[in-house]
Amino acid sequence: MSASLFRPIATTLIRSVFLWATLCALAIGSIQAAYSYIHVQDRFELAVREIGQTNVPLLSVSIWDIEPEAIRRQLEVIAARPEIGYVSLTVTTGQTFSAGDKGLTNDRPRHFDIPPPGRPVGVIGNLEIFENPAAFYRELIYTLGVASLGYGVLTLLICTLIAYLLKRDLERPLRRVAQFASELTPNRLTIPLELARSPGHGRDEIDLVVEGFSVLQSGINSHIANLDEQVAQRTAELESALAAIHRLSTIDPLTGCFNRRLFNERIQEELDRAIRYQRALAVIFCDIDHFKRINDTCGHLLGDQVLQEAAECFRRELRGHIDWVARYGGEEFVIVLPETSLPAAIATAERLRLALTESMATLLPGLTVTASFGVTQHVPGETVQELLQRADNLLYAAKAAGRNQTLPRL
């Protein structure tokens, strides 16, 4: 994992900038050194020549006027110059003067003939100037030192400035972006990325990244919103499908009445409610008389019509939302009458019997269709099965007693 060690981009950049700047400074410094060497040498030679030339007229006057003290002083002044190591003067009349360090005479001296003052011809003295090599190297070192120091300070300053700018303009914003990205969770998706940039900077790559983030965030946001919508749509579809399935599973397709399955669920609920509120509950069993014969003689289509008409008739005659009808078997219906006592239920059953016979007569002229009814009221402590069994037994008894009647009678 050492390869993935974290190394700040600013540090890497600064390192390479510093390395290259130092290399450049060294390269330029070397050129400068070579140039300085030649330059200092020239300057040094010029200085020595100048010293000689400027002193020749003065010495000429001093020698001519025979002022040994002045000559000595002048030589001291010449020798005091850092460029000069040793200076000696020989007068044509034999006198010699010298000043400076006698140990510096190994070098080749510069000769200056001293003419008499005001006359360019003739020689009254000879001046020999020996350079001071130490001064030459001192000046060279000084020149190089100043240049190196200058380059060093410049390089350091530039690197420091770059480091500062990198940290301020690159490292900090990038770190902030990285932090923002790592903390980006679905619930923080709407918070925009904001960077504290120095005022007055132009739009740059960092801004592009920030804008990219903003585009990304809004894209994700709209994608999520789209997903919600799709889920709502699918849920609605599912609900309607479920509703269809429910209807299919509870409604008898032929008659539109509840089927036996739903009846089994609901009758228990009705019973529980009646017990809880101590209300009356009546159940009517109904069976179409001789339905098999109708089917056989008139065809199944008519049989189905009969069943549909019976269901329609019951719905017409009953209290909507309170009373309800289920197809219990082939031609057998069960009618549940909440809040209804036995006499009212028997009356209802009688009304249904008469209405059925009448509506069948209009539907099928020439054919008499009747039905038998068994009516009972729930007795406290009785189960659904016992209640239904009693009603069924009463229907059976009505059938046995000649059909087209309601049992018990009022």
Binding site: W64, D65, I66, E67, P68, V91, T93, Q95, I124
Partner: protein, 367 residues
């Protein structure tokens, strides 16, 4: 008032010299043991004694900035103790500043030995009694005469001794004093005039030895090497001549035999050298200038202002070319620096009303 006047009259009667004696101070630029300037002082003291002048002298010991120090000391005195007149010189161009110092203090001044001659100095000082009211005037010996007389005598000596080189000309060296003292330049001028008049003389070079014997010794060595043909050596004073002679002797020569030297200054040593023949020519006597200055100040103080007949800046012939006989006479009379035998009152216009013009030549003191 009457009693006060009476007391004053009594005082005048009892201490006439104390009350009436004029007082003069002299700032001597030379050394107190230097022959020339000591002689000058002695002559002045004798003149002061003759003329009842209270006289005091201060030596700058040849350190010319010291003259200003001395001047300030005089100015700093209480008014009663200040001298009536101060005699100063213009050696090394110190005159204008001295004039300014004394004039500011209200002390009267008189320039002796060397006056104002350079235009630069003149611009500062103006004429006497103009800008500096207390500057009464000046008395100078005609310095050209010294140079001229000695150079001419030296050339004549060279001709007599047939000291000409192979080119038939007399090769001549000059050792002057300094470049800034007018008296030095004048002597040089006189010397050059004599050389120009001679026609057969080559002035090889004029050097400046600062009136100093040791420096003349040092420079002469070069000079004799540089000009091996030179046989005549002119010097601006006696000390420099002696220095050159010393070198010549060291080189194996004999002054007065194979080379000839001239000098200026009436010093006993120079007189002796003249007598022995080592010096070919000697001029002097101008040391008396200070004594003459006292005579002029005396006359001024006693109502005979020299400005009337002589002008304020007086240039008088004082130098005498000494013969060997003159040398003897000088040594006898003044060898001990006693000038008491000279009666300086004789030269005063105030004391000799018939005297119309001053005669300050030294020769009259010898004859």
């Amino acid at each position: 008032m009457k009693r006060l006047a009476g007391l004053l009259a009594l005082l005048l009667f009892v201490f006439p010299s104390l009350v009436w004696a004029m007082s003069v101070a002299f700032i001597n630029p030379g050394k107190s043991d230097e022959a020339y300037w000591l002689t000058a002082t002695k002559a002045m003291e004798a003149a002061a004694k003759d003329l009842d002048i209270r006289f005091e002298v201060f030596y700058a010991e040849r350190q010319h900035p010291r003259v200003f120090e001395l001047a300030r000391q005089i100015v700093a005195r209480p008014v009663a103790d200040r001298p009536d007149y101060v005699v100063i010189t213009n050696d090394y161009a110190t005159g204008p500043e001295l004039l300014r110092l004394f004039d500011a203090a209200g002390i009267k001044t008189f320039l002796a030995y060397s006056g104002i001659s350079e235009p630069v100095e003149r611009a500062v000082t103006g004429q006497p009694r103009e800008h500096f009211k207390g500057w009464l005037g000046s008395l100078e010996p005609r310095a050209q005469e010294a140079g001229y007389l000695t150079a001419k005598a030296l050339i004549q000596q060279g001709r007599r001794a047939q000291a000409q080189a192979a080119d038939g000309r007399l090769h001549f060296l000059a050792i002057s004093g300094d470049r800034s003292t007018p008296a030095s330049n004048r002597r040089g001028e006189g010397m050059r005039r004599a050389v120009a008049e001679a026609g057969d003389v080559v002035l090889e070079q004029e050097i400046f030895s600062g009136w100093n014997r040791a420096k003349a010794v040092e420079q002469s060595e070069w000079l004799f090497q540089r000009y091996p043909l030179a046989r005549l050596v002119w010097a601006g004073n006696d000390q420099m001549a002696f220095g050159a002679m010393q070198v010549w002797e060291k080189r194996g020569g004999k002054p007065g035999k194979d080379a000839w030297f001239s000098a200026v200054n009436a010093s006993p040593e120079a007189m002796a050298a003249l007598k022995s023949g080592r010096l070919a020519a000697l001029a002097g006597g101008h040391f008396i200038c200070g004594a003459w200055a006292l005579v002029m100040l005396y006359d001024y103080d006693h109502g005979r202002d020299f400005a009337e007949a002589e002008g304020v800046e007086v240039n008088q012939s004082m130098f005498t070319l000494f013969s060997q006989k003159d040398a003897d006479r000088f040594m006898v009379r003044f060898g001990q620096l006693h000038f008491d035998q000279v009666n300086f009152r004789r030269f005063s216009k105030a004391l000799n009303p018939k005297l119309k013009r001053y005669d300050f030549n030294f020769r009259q003191l010898l004859d």
